[in-house]
């Protein structure tokens, strides 16, 4: 047993069963998966990425590079760190990167092959053939974890929070900062990623101001909880620091049982970063063997979880912190076989401590080898008196500390190298961010507490104007002064010494990269992949940078550091989405007729502006083509009805409305008569199509504009911007009334008869001319009815308040029963458009076509003083040259399948032209003409009517005759008559 009888925060009354790599184990409530594995003496927890070497736990925290697992029991989540998974009954997990198992892994052959897979191997080797060729073999061997195949059952939410002061990290410095700031009454938020507050005090028994660490934490925490201006969150990881002091934090397993994670968007006036530091490994051959663990991690497993990772330890260090843990190790029965210190001399406190406990120390010592493939057996120690083997089952090492400056760095701050502590610490802050304690390179607890109090005091003084003074003194803490001397291993040593555990980067790889003339740290990183794995080099980066610097022969700190980017820890997609999952990602907009349409069995389709609308209405046994043909024939020969509610409708009022419309449209609207409508074309300033639609004049200063579904937002933005920024002198109100109105279109030869059959005070006789509109009562409610046509048929559009829409619709369906009234979908409406050759912005009207190319010169009034797009059109005209024009195409084969976008090539039998001639913009089978028709953009198309072109298809190509872009009723007698 490696679980202690006493101590720790685990509940010995509550045993939890779990499975790891197929084996049954028992842990205790309060364990993490990692601590439970330690307590069960499981040494191998995973395999490394490239060489598939067996790996054990290196750390006890979120920086863990080795123990990446797939969590099978909770939604199949890949690449979680065992150190962060709270143990629960029935938990099941397995190591990633292992096949078939962690202890016996076939990929480990890479380890023996390693001489032929050096740094940059992939870059150098896989140039000869396309990557696809190699990836088939490599992906099987590589890959981290496995994507879940099931839908994520977890639920997530996002919340926003504003605060005066955000403190990140509830270690001693963070707690003190929050405590001091809270006194002022300012809003304080304290977030911390561990399960309970206290930071490293949870693991290391220290006395602060004469109190035991736990007691001090309890006191401060109670004080904070008692204040209404303080919000404390545990299990909450601040993952990124963004512009204007926005910090994102993910709260794991919040108190609400139904919630898996909650994403906090925290906007703080000031931010204190007290995220502490993580211990840095030493670089020595075999430093990745299972059983080689950071000293801080050993102390954490022992004191927090009462789990003992080994019985006979060798401690290897270049700094003083390892000594802090020696007495703890002895107290739980770990025999400290030897301390190997890279430094020549010890500090006074350290010397006293080892003497008091009779521990043997080898100064100027090195570990030059670690034996034992799946568990440490012994180490070879080189000291002043020669080389000696020391038998042990645990190697604890400490290479100093890496301040967690990620958030500071996200905020835009640069780090500087501190020679004394041999690490990167924050420099000048950017944004309102302040680092304190170990995150600021202040490795003494007393120093960190003093710093935190001082900074918090001055920040709240700035925020609230209140003076606080009493807390800024440096308190009494019993601790060993921090001292470090970084000594790199000799190159002559045999065996792999790792600097990045997760990506298997060794000292030899770094040396090779430098030999191959990579000098920038950013380049070395990418070439060797050091620091690019899931852990983003949290423990390894400083060693990589240090080694590169050494290889380059530069002064430590002179090559700079790589840039930290968010997120600090991986963030699940689920929590980014929050509650916006499935259909809620982009909620579909509906019309009052949507339910009726669905009840009729309509096939629904995406339309513009997030609308879903009927595509076509299949009857039993009908194919899509059958249904579209039936609907189109009904519209041409009897009566069709179409739900046009998604169209945009704007009211424009004010004395300058006519002038505004004259400037917006290519044609005139000032001379439009009241009660009449006119088709208008709106361009962008570059002379290309923005939208088209009919605008009516309701009164002298009152117009009603309609525009396409997808364009409604863009057109509104376009007009509103011009009114607010360019033409501020124009007196016009613009109101988007689309959402309040429903629009229904009744078309076809019997349209008049259908409408006449409904109780109304509106005359639908010959006096109701094309482009007229009338207001009145219809089926008992107020309506506005316009005679416009998007199908080429006699057609009336009914505008009514939404609440009456379904009633009007069903009334019309009843009234039209004897006339064969047929609901038509958007596909049919598209077919009717193509038959009529109505140019559609987005199809024919692309980013090159101008109205002249589209044969719409009739609607462009170049004599007007100005309109949006006029200057650019004039340049088109000045420039001349051959342009693509909108034409019709009649394929020789009447039932040819023509895809939108098909390229047009010259007729192989004639013409003398060569190369690409244009493309098909819209094609369909016309039920009216009983043949395939198409609209197209064709080079010089206006002058090529009657010529043949080849429509190039993927499966077959066919010849087609170029025609005018109108296939049915070219004079428009049906819609005007």
């Amino acid at each position: 047993m490696t679980r202690l009888a006493n101590g720790g925060v685990v509940n010995r009354q509550r045993r939890l069963n779990f499975r790891f790599n197929g084996q049954e184990y028992q842990g205790l409530e309060g364990d993490t998966l990692a601590s439970a594995l330690v307590a069960n003496d499981v040494k191998v927890v995973g395999r490394s990425f490239k060489y598939h070497r067996p790996r054990g736990l290196l750390t006890c925290g979120p920086e863990e590079p080795n123990a990446l697992v797939q969590l099978l029991s909770d939604g199949d989540q890949p690449n979680l760190r065992a150190t962060e998974i709270r143990l629960t009954e029935g938990l099941e997990a397995k190591s990633v990167n292992c096949w078939p198992s962690a202890r016996f892994d076939l990929g480990a052959v890479n380890d023996w092959l390693s001489p032929i897979i050096p740094a940059g191997f992939y870059y150098k080797t896989f140039m000869a053939r396309p990557w696809d060729f190699y990836s088939r073999f490599i992906r099987k061997a590589a890959g981290l974890g496995r994507l879940p195949t099931e839908r994520d059952r977890g639920r997530y939410e996002r919340v926003f929070h504003h605060t005066d002061l955000l403190v990140v990290g509830a270690g001693p410095a963070g707690l003190r900062a929050a405590q001091v700031a809270a006194i002022s009454g300012a809003d304080v938020m304290l977030v911390d990623m561990q399960m309970s507050p206290g930071g490293h005090l949870l693991f290391h028994s220290r006395e602060i101001e004469g109190k035991a660490g736990a007691e001090w934490i309890a006191e401060v925490t109670a004080e904070l909880k008692g204040r209404r201006n303080v919000t404390c969150l545990q299990n909450t990881t601040a993952t990124g620091y963004y512009d204007h002091n926005m910090v994102l934090a993910v709260e794991h397993e919040p108190e609400a049982a139904w919630l898996r994670e909650r994403l906090w968007h925290i906007r703080a006036k000031k931010v204190v970063i007290a995220t502490g530091a993580v211990e840095r490994p030493l670089v020595f051959p075999g430093n990745d063997r299972p059983g080689v663990m950071l000293t801080d991690a050993v102390a954490r497993y022992v004191s927090r979880f009462a789990a003992v990772p080994g019985q006979r330890a060798v401690v290897y260090t270049n700094n003083s912190t390892a000594y802090e843990h020696l007495e703890l190790m002895l107290s739980v029965g770990i025999s400290v076989e030897q301390v190997v210190d890279l430094r020549a001399t010890l500090g006074e406190a350290e010397r006293e401590l080892v003497q008091r406990n009779s521990i043997e120390v080898v100064t100027n010592g090195r570990i030059i080898g670690v034996e034992g493939r799946s568990a440490v057996r012994d180490v070879r120690v080189a000291g002043e008196s020669g080389i000696r083997s020391v038998s042990c089952d645990l190697v604890c090492h400490s290479g100093g500390w890496n301040p967690l400056i990620h958030l500071y760095s996200h905020a835009g701050g640069k780090s500087v190298f501190d020679q004394e502590s041999a690490t990167f610490i924050p420099g000048e802050p950017v944004q309102a961010v302040h680092c304190v304690g170990a995150a600021n390179g202040t490795f003494s607890v007393a120093g960190g507490l003093g710093e935190a109090a001082g900074i918090a005091g001055s920040l709240v003084e700035e925020l609230t104007g209140k003076q606080l003074g009493s807390y800024s003194s440096r308190p009494e803490v019993a601790e060993i002064p921090y001292g470090i001397n970084v000594i790199w291993p000799e190159k002559t040593l045999k065996g792999k010494a790792f600097v990045d555990f997760q990506n298997d980067v060794t000292t030899a790889d770094i040396a090779l990269a430098v030999r191959e003339n990579f000098q920038s740290i950013e380049h070395v990183k990418r070439y060797t992949t050091a620091g690019m794995a899931v852990d983003q080099g949290k423990v390894g980066n400083p060693n990589v940078i240090g080694l590169v610097t050494k290889e380059l022969g530069e002064q430590q700190g002179s090559v700079g550091t790589t840039t930290f980017r968010p997120p600090f820890m991986p963030v699940s997609f689920g929590v980014i989405g929050g509650s916006e999952q499935g259909q809620l990602i982009i909620p579909a907009r509906t019309t009052p007729i949507t339910r009726w349409n669905i009840a009729q069995g309509a096939a629904m389709d995406e339309a513009g502006a997030n609308f879903r609308r009927p595509f076509y209405f299949p009857r039993a046994g009908e194919s899509m083509d059958d249904a579209v043909a039936r609907e189109a024939r009904a519209a041409r020969n009897a009566c069709g009805i179409y739900d046009g509610t998604p169209l945009g409708t704007f009211e424009l009022q004010g004395p300058d409305t006519a002038e505004l419309l004259n400037r917006l449209y290519t044609n005139r609207f000032d001379n439009l008569l009241i009660g009449r409508g006119r088709f208008g074309l709106m361009l962008r300033e570059d002379g290309r199509f923005l939208d088209d639609g009919v605008t009516f004049r309701v009164g002298p200063h009152h117009y009603l504009m309609s525009c396409g579904t997808g364009a409604a937002g863009v057109v509104y933005a376009h007009i509103d911007r011009l009114l607010q920024t360019e033409w501020t002198d124009l007196k016009v109100y613009l109101v988007n009334v689309s959402a309040g109105l429903a629009t229904m279109c009744v078309c076809g030869p019997y349209a008049r008869d259908v409408l006449g059959g409904v109780e109304t005070d509106i005359d639908f006789d010959e006096s109701f001319r094309f482009m007229d509109f009338r207001e009145g009562r219809f089926a008992g409610v107020s309506v506005r009815i316009a005679r416009v046509s998007y199908t080429g048929e006699l057609s009336f559009e009914i505008n009514v308040a939404r609440r009456h829409a379904l009633m009007i619709w069903t009334t019309l369906m009843n009234a039209g029963q004897n006339y064969g009234i047929t609901p038509i979908g958007s596909e049919t409406s598209g077919v009717l458009r193509i038959e009529k050759g109505f140019v559609s912005p987005g199809h024919e009207g692309d980013n090159i076509t101008n109205p002249f190319d589209a044969g719409m010169a009739w609607i462009v009034d170049m004599e007007k003083p100005d309109f949006i797009g006029k200057r650019s059109l004039r340049r088109d005209l000045d420039l001349g040259g051959e342009r693509q024009h909108v034409v019709g195409l009649l394929p020789d084969k009447h039932r040819a399948l023509v895809a939108d976008g098909s390229a047009l090539l010259p007729d192989p039998g004639g013409s003398g032209r060569s190369g690409f001639q244009g493309h098909v913009t819209a094609a369909c089978f016309s039920p009216t003409l009983e043949r395939t028709i198409a609209l197209a953009l064709l080079k010089d198309g206006h002058h090529r009517h009657g010529e043949k072109v080849l429509i190039s298809g993927l499966e077959q190509s066919c010849l087609a005759t170029v025609t005018a872009p109108v296939f049915f009723d070219p004079q428009g007698q049906r819609m005007r008559g």
Binding site: H244, E685, E726, D866, R871, S872
Partner: protein, 86 residues
């Protein structure tokens, strides 16, 4: 995410706004009199300074006001420059 000071609504998150680009871009009073070069400059070219730029912003998911701010492209420091129109 930036915080944009809307003269009407106060500080609001950037995702409620649409940036309308550099405010020095002003539509010529009489485009017909512009040379091709000047017109192309108006249509397509930005000053894109390293430092302070005056920009249009549109509070589209709020009060729908268009307004100008000064924004430092290096630091994102923002200075409101408009009072609420009467």
């Amino acid at each position: 995410m930036l915080e944009i000071p809307c003269p009407w609504c106060g500080l609001r998150n950037e995702n409620e706004f649409i940036c309308g680009g550099e405010a020095q871009r002003k539509r010529p009073a009489d485009p017909d009199r512009e040379t091709d070069e000047a017109w192309a400059d108006y249509l397509y070219n930005n000053a894109n300074p390293k430092g302070v730029v005056t920009e249009w912003w549109w509070h589209v998911s709020g009060c729908t006001l268009w307004f100008k701010i000064d924004r430092n492209t290096l630091t994102h420091e923002i200075t409101p420059i408009e009072e609420l129109p009467e």
